[in-house]
Symmetry: C2
Subunit: 433 residues, 2 copies
């Protein structure tokens, strides 16, 4: 991979878009514990997953290859916005009165404004070459649903999204985005599925939940031959796709900081963002080229890494998914309704949980007010209004480097922008939380 | 200026951020007709403008230099997002079944998502070096108000924005953005000014107008020594600042298309976006290096170029501003409430009107439905949801190149993204207009 330091702007480094995804698990001595079948409790095989996922993604879920080639049609779409920028955040450094050098890897340049497109495009591609006509999925705030709708439009796939009704009603903009890309949107629970009708019969006024939306999307995918299901985080193949973030960031950083990173901060909900950012940095550590600390910033309202147990648990509330070995607060855990909807998940990606157990990644819990306060400082200094999720990484970094004389090299993964989350900023500024 | 064609991605060309703005007027045989004092009808002098604008901007308003150096503090901030991308829109070409090669110059990567920051940062800088403490301005949909609030945060200036009440109430997101950057926001008319109180006394339920908001902002600036007023379009110094768009685009395009552009499309409201994009292309024409057509896409609901008269008229409804020689529908013209709020202005920048009179730029009127239809095709193919204003340029281009075998090189100026305008897309998809 070649890099190019712009002589007129040494704070912005461009590199080639990666040709391969990076699979850290293949380079670890201990493998990630396998997913278990919810009935037999035996490791799931490809056949167990075939009703939901296409062959290409199932192969990636259990791959032992460290590098997996990015198909050319996927790479072509990545090039619409990739490489994403890595920039030195000098004005934020000044505001923090720190000698640390802060670099920001910014995924908000994607069409939908977050990292979610990195996996959505790959998932749509592998489904399209298997002859799939439609993808179903769930979405909370709508980041994943809009990313998959964009990806579906690229490959001629219909996309049907069940959105938690509370978000569907209160945060309509990402629903509009889903429709603009041609996706079909339903509030969940809906009367379109058995699961949804049962839920509505039980409580006609329910505002829904992510677990219920999963059940509706899975039911429709399982019942139709030409339809598959797509998941936006947690699973190994999603983590794999997100590795483009870190692969670019490592090369971009090395071009200006030959010693590499000292600390890498990212936010962690389901874990794909943090894993995608950090695993290539851990590759550098495994191969002795640098020794970065990796910090996963999670919300104190949903602290799976810092307060959860490491054990097998279901990925959904209804218990339909395979059992995943992960840090979990329990499948029934209901977090407070914080604004960072993307971080309100009871578990953590098995791949990321595994690296935490190996001592390669550490968790830190961030209070929502500290997160938004850091987000506003970042917006006023660097211009970008961060997604509420991303503010957790910014706050974790700020706490670490503020008023420090240590000349560290620090990387913040900025997973998305917060243009569609501005009402949350307004509430914070009004003192509502 | 050096350019760099990324070997792995020849569709994306990077160049240096310009060191100078370009002033086309200085290279034309006929000068732009001067602005006239509203009372004396004589050309306005620097003293007439000093109560509202700082010295640096007044000098630029009447400059006869073709190149004006961009101050280093301004250029440093430009580098947060500049150079903005120029990319080949291959999937959009496919959708249009055309042999034209379409390049898109995209200003939506700026912190607030539009080209407005290019002038906001410059205006905040020149005010700050004159010791100004506060800037006042008006805003409609909020693009300019948020850009100036961002710029104020960069230079430590307070920014006070009067927003047309209709937009303040119905489109709150950009108001939230203004506040996130630290700006102060008032609905207009307000009870904070003489003008506002008079308007409210006359009609307590008024939804306001841009002309009224101008009056409030100007009144406050004129009455306070440490306060100045900032305007987001129309005037020559704003057009000058926006030339960074076209300067980059010319160099980016030349790196992959040595023959330059055949046609350049941009949307035109007050005119600064289209002028900023196109004047460097007209420089190429004046110097015999290429011969591009320049097309200004305006809304059929507010067709100042295609239906207006070329004459002296006021820039505001109340008649407080200097008289400007421009294409105008008349200061009292009230356009239909189309979604492209940034194109609802009765006049056109004198600098741009002048080039139209000289035969260098032509106008085309675009229907709002055609604009949104093109915008949706663009979103589904290229991923970016365009601002409603920008869809007019996309539609004008689509009409020109669709089903064409002509191998033209076409440039579209995409002035901003439409993430905060998604309700308008939803209304279009619902068949509401």
């Amino acid at each position: 991979m070649t890099s190019n330091v712009d002589a007129s702007n040494p704070d912005l480094v461009t590199v080639d878009v990666p040709t391969h995804w990076y699979n850290l698990a293949a380079e670890l001595d201990e493998p990630i514990p396998p997913h278990l079948h919810p009935g037999t409790k035996e490791p799931v095989g490809p056949d167990d997953l075939a009703a939901l996922f296409p062959a290409g993604l199932i192969a990636q879920e259990v791959s032992t290859e460290p590098y997996i080639e990015i198909p050319e049609p996927v790479r072509e779409i990545y090039q619409m916005w990739r490489p994403s920028p890595l920039f030195r955040a000098r004005k934020f450094e000044e505001a923090l009165n720190t000698k640390a050098r802060i670099y920001v890897k910014y995924e908000g340049v994607s069409p939908v404004g977050s990292h979610k497109t990195n996996s959505a495009v790959a998932q749509a591609y592998y489904n399209s070459i298997d002859g799939v006509k439609k993808l179903t999925t769930e979405t909370g705030a709508g980041q994943w649903g809009s990313a998959l709708s964009f990806a579906g439009a690229q490959f001629g796939l219909d996309v049907e999204v069940w959105q938690v009704r509370a978000s569907y009603d209160s945060k309509p903009y990402r629903g509009f985005l889903i429709r603009t890309y041609g996706g079909t949107l339903h509030p969940s629970p809906s009367d379109l599925t058995e699961a949804g009708r049962a839920m509505l019969a039980k409580d006609p006024d329910t505002t829904g939940s992510l677990g219920m939306a999963v059940s509706e999307a899975v039911e429709v995918a399982a019942a139709n031959d030409d339809t598959r299901y797509a998941l936006g985080s947690v699973l190994n193949h999603v983590v794999l796709h997100q590795s483009v973030i870190g692969l670019e960031a490592v090369d971009q950083l090395n071009a200006v900081e030959p010693g590499g990173a000292d600390v890498v901060f990212g936010c962690a909900g389901g874990g794909s963002n943090l894993a995608g950012l950090s695993f290539p940095f851990l590759r550098e550590k495994l191969h002795g080229r640098s020794d970065p600390r990796i910090v996963a910033a999670e919300p104190s309202a949903c602290p799976s890494l810092t307060q959860g147990e490491y054990r097998y648990d279901h990925g959904d509330v209804a218990g339909l998914t395979p059992l995943l070995k992960m840090h979990t607060l329990g499948m029934d855990f209901v977090p407070d309704p914080i604004h960072a909807g993307g971080l309100r998940y009871h578990g953590m990606a098995p791949a990321l949980s595994h690296t935490v157990e190996l001592g390669l990644v550490e968790g830190v819990a961030i209070d929502q007010r500290a997160a938004f306060s850091a987000g506003i400082t970042f917006a006023r200094t660097q211009g970008i209004v961060p997604a509420p999720e991303s503010t957790h990484a910014i706050a974790a970094c700020a706490e670490h480097v503020a008023n420090s004389d240590k000349e560290e090299v620090v990387v913040i993964g900025l997973s998305g922008h917060g243009q569609l989350d501005l009402p949350a900023y307004a509430e914070f500024l009004n003192g509502s939380f």
